[in-house]
């Protein structure tokens, strides 16, 4: 075998720390791993197991306007290399979130991405406006828009399955964020649209989101699944269907991020940052998502088994890059799309 050849990639001596910093618009992250929405509650629950301030960001459970009980139980079913969840967006509402949860994250020194959800575009806009109006001392660095929640006006179909509905939500969010930025003179909060893989044309939905003002994309949310109880022969989840997550859906995430990045490279999508999510449980997993185009990675379901996983994955990713002599994470973002730039030697990997 030949020695390693990584054209255009800056090599680092093996012992040197890898530069893992990344950015989502104006939101600078010293580390590339985040929690994933719905897998870290409000964030504070993980503080005993990892340093919240050392994560790239804490992504909160989706926040809605009003308190919400969520669904009946059972809410969970284990599946091969994954699980289904059907929580129903349980949460205390934006007032309680701002009063009780966000200050704890600020105190911990965390950077925060607040996930928002709503039943119509107005609710999304209102929530985004509340967050964008927070003072400069706020730990909120970006908003993630959970468009995989039911659209009350459209038979409960999720916004993310429809380009028009997705665009309307992002329009509402981005105009609220822009208004707040104009009023305060501070830069507008970056807005990530979290995409569902359960669509026929992912790039079309992504384009609708960026047309609506999304400045970044998160890919992917869970994919809809179902399990039948072997005894009752009825759906095992009280909510009937649930979101499938875990390593079982990682190939779907890799495929989606590949498609989005290919569309950016072809000029079909604007050049917005992509945050990867889907079945990441190790640094090697994260590197797959990064290689196809993610500039940061969320660690979700793995946190249920290992509450320190978001921090552990960052350490493992650093080791993966150092082992390949890569000095900067940014050098391998999207490298899978570039024949000849990849690492050709594998003997010591």
């Amino acid at each position: 075998m030949e020695s390693a050849t990584i054209k255009d990639v800056v090599h680092a001596p093996a012992a040197t720390a890898v530069d893992l910093s990344t950015s989502i618009g104006s939101f600078h992250l010293p580390a590339p791993t985040m929690t994933a929405s719905g897998c870290a509650a409000a964030g504070a629950e993980l503080a005993p197991y990892l340093d919240l301030a050392a994560l790239g960001a804490v992504v909160t459970k989706s926040v809605l306007r009003d308190p919400r009980s969520g669904r009946a139980t059972p809410r969970m079913a284990e599946t091969p290399s994954g699980m289904l969840n059907s929580i129903g967006l349980q949460g205390p509402g934006i007032d309680s979130f701002l009063e009780h949860d966000l200050p704890v994250l600020a105190e911990a020194g965390a950077r925060v991405v607040v996930s928002i959800a709503g039943g119509d575009a107005d609710e999304f806009g209102e929530l985004a406006g509340r967050l964008a109006a927070l003072g400069p001392e706020s730990p909120v660095g970006a908003i993630e828009v959970n468009i995989s929640c039911p659209n009350v006006a459209n038979r409960g179909l999720v916004f993310a399955c429809d380009t028009g509905a997705s665009r309307a939500v992002l329009d509402a969010v981005s105009s609220a964020v822009s208004s707040a930025a104009a009023a305060t003179g501070r830069p507008a909060l970056p807005v990530l649209a979290k995409l569902s893989p359960d669509v026929t044309d992912l790039v079309a939905v992504a384009r609708a989101c960026t047309d609506g003002g999304a400045t970044g994309l998160t890919a992917i949310n869970t994919t809809l699944g179902m399990v039948i109880d072997p005894v009752t022969l009825r759906p095992q989840l009280a909510g009937v269907t649930g979101g499938t997550s875990g390593p079982a859906i990682r190939p779907i995430a890799v495929r989606c991020i590949w498609q989005l990045t290919a569309a950016k490279r072809a000029g079909v999508l604007p050049d917005v940052p992509i945050v990867g999510a889907g079945g990441v449980a190790s640094g090697a997993d994260a590197l797959q998502l990064i290689a196809v185009g993610a500039c940061a990675v969320q660690v979700g379901t793995a946190t249920f088994a290992d509450p320190s996983a978001p921090a552990r994955v960052a350490r493992e990713l650093e080791a993966e890059l150092a082992r390949r002599g890569v000095a900067r994470l940014a050098d391998v973002v999207g490298i899978a799309h570039e024949p000849g730039r990849g690492i050709t030697r594998s003997t010591d990997l």
């Binding site: 719905g38 897998c39 870290a40 509650a41 629950e45 993980l46 503080a47 005993p48 197991y49 459970k61 009003d66 308190p67 919400r68 009980s69 969520g70 669904r71 009946a72 139980t73 059972p74 809410r75 969970m76 284990e78 091969p80 290399s81 994954g82 699980m83 969840n85 929580i87 129903g88 967006l89 349980q90 949460g91 509402g93 009780h100 039943g119 039911p150 009350v152 409960g156 109880d229 005894v231 009752t232 009825r234 009280a238 909510g239 875990g246 390593p247 379901t301 793995a302 946190t303 249920f304 088994a305 290992d306 509450p307 320190s308």
Partner: protein, 313 residues
Amino acid sequence: MSRTTTAPAGVQEAAEVVSARPVGAYTHLVLHAPEAARRAQPGQFVACGVGDSGMLLRRSLSLHAADPVAGTLEVVVAAAGPGTRLLAAKRPGDVVPTTAPLGRPFPIPEAGTPGVVIGGGYGAAPLPWLARVLTAQGSRVVGIVGAASADRLLGTSAVDDATALDGIADALVVTTDDGSLGAPGRVTDALPEVLLELADLGDPWVYACGPMPMLRSVHTTTREVLGQGARTWLAVEESMACGVGVCMTCVLPVAQDDDDGVRRTRMLRACTAGPVFDGDALRWDAIGAAPHLRGGALVPDDAVGAPTAMGGH
């Protein structure tokens, strides 16, 4: 219980299996987890990885005992599914990823308050430890352990001395549904006589661990026999993915007085608000109310943020 009160956090340890031995139908495991062993209290649990990359989720097991000197946690595993079967098959030297101690422990009453500790099947696992704490502070403690049949019992020396309540509780009643050991019938058939005997010493605190129908019956029976005097503390066994409060799958409808004095029902996490709940706080009208949802609970219509006709969840 205040709404803001949450459980003390656990610690992650790669726990080596020190010993594994069959106890009746179950497996008793001793795990080396010194930091957790230092912190653990009766009623708390340990979340265990099963060691199969295809089965991601932790299995939460009630702690049978913790020895801070030896640095060990003890659990009794019932091999009920593929994950617990793997745990029950662990041998000395195997390593189990653990997060412990999790959940809120059993509340302990004023010294001298009489206690009843009730276990259904392997639910008896935490009772000897709890009974020891209660008797050490001068409480008279009566144990009741039951199961469908003798081979599913735990907590009696008829099954195993080391995990038994014999010699720790002041008295022990054994029941089996089929009469194969002890008194024929359910634990709650034996409960009224025990409650009436102990009530002479003060309002008893009744602790129970086992399947939800048994917990409901313990609560109902206690209220029927003693009115509002006694307290019931019920350790629930809910399906949970994480055990640390982030997945929101293990919730139950629980009614509590808020700071404004108004009693409100919320879907609370069994892992952080429980697993031990005040029997009066559980919304029995919603728990187990839908037979096709085995072990599930509905959201009461009056719960905070319950679904409305306008928008389901």
